[in-house]
Symmetry: C2
Subunit: 122 residues, 2 copies
Amino acid sequence: MTVRFSEIRAMPGQPFTEGCPTRVVLDHIMGKWGVLVLLSLSDRTHRWGELRREVQGISEKMLAQTLRVLEADGLVHREAYPEIPPRVEYSLTPLGRDLMERMLPLVEWVAIHSDAIVGTDD
Amino acid sequence: MTVRFSEIRAMPGQPFTEGCPTRVVLDHIMGKWGVLVLLSLSDRTHRWGELRREVQGISEKMLAQTLRVLEADGLVHREAYPEIPPRVEYSLTPLGRDLMERMLPLVEWVAIHSDAIVGTDD
DNA sequence: CTGTATCCTTCTAGATACTG
DNA sequence: CAGTATCTAGAAGGATACAG
């Protein structure tokens, strides 16, 4: 194993204890919609409407909320073009790209093993 | 970037579309408590009471529920010893250990960057 | 096209009490 | 010690309508 959790836990600030900032970030990026939006953006820049279609099942409300949180976290960049009709493009910030480099191997694993896992029981 | 999402998306079964098994697995392992329980177990085998203490803030109900889901998924192994008082030990299965190898680098990233992220805004 | 605002339902999850 | 059962408050999330 490349990293051990005990080493991570021993880092300054005691990550993943109650009330710790890591818990908040974990909720943002590991939440149902956070992951799916970040995945879409890891591919390329997307417009609002594209994200609505690509992240299947997300409501406008949850898309707006998710994007606002990820933008406030500094993971997503929002670029609005003052045109009629309006055009807004969402992309990953450098920090967001750095994050996705760590997340994509995990997501790939999930894609490969999900059938077996859900097939086992659920 | 080591993997691209577009390649993952193109895999058989169209991962991460609506109703896909990957969505279910994602919810199990990326959920708030799923991650924290898996992290504790990635370190070593734990008894029920140890998990309650280590995963700070989790209720008995959520711990039981989380463990049952992860066990059904084949990620966690439950070993009950027929003693008085009873002793039950939880550990990762080989599949679970494989998963955590991909998850730990991500978790390490979160531990390192969380202060900056939450500091930015929330 | 890109959102916001509101209502309303469903589901999560914490607290409490209890059992083998 | 290792759980289960029940109840309930609150949050999450969907539908709809509307605005810039």
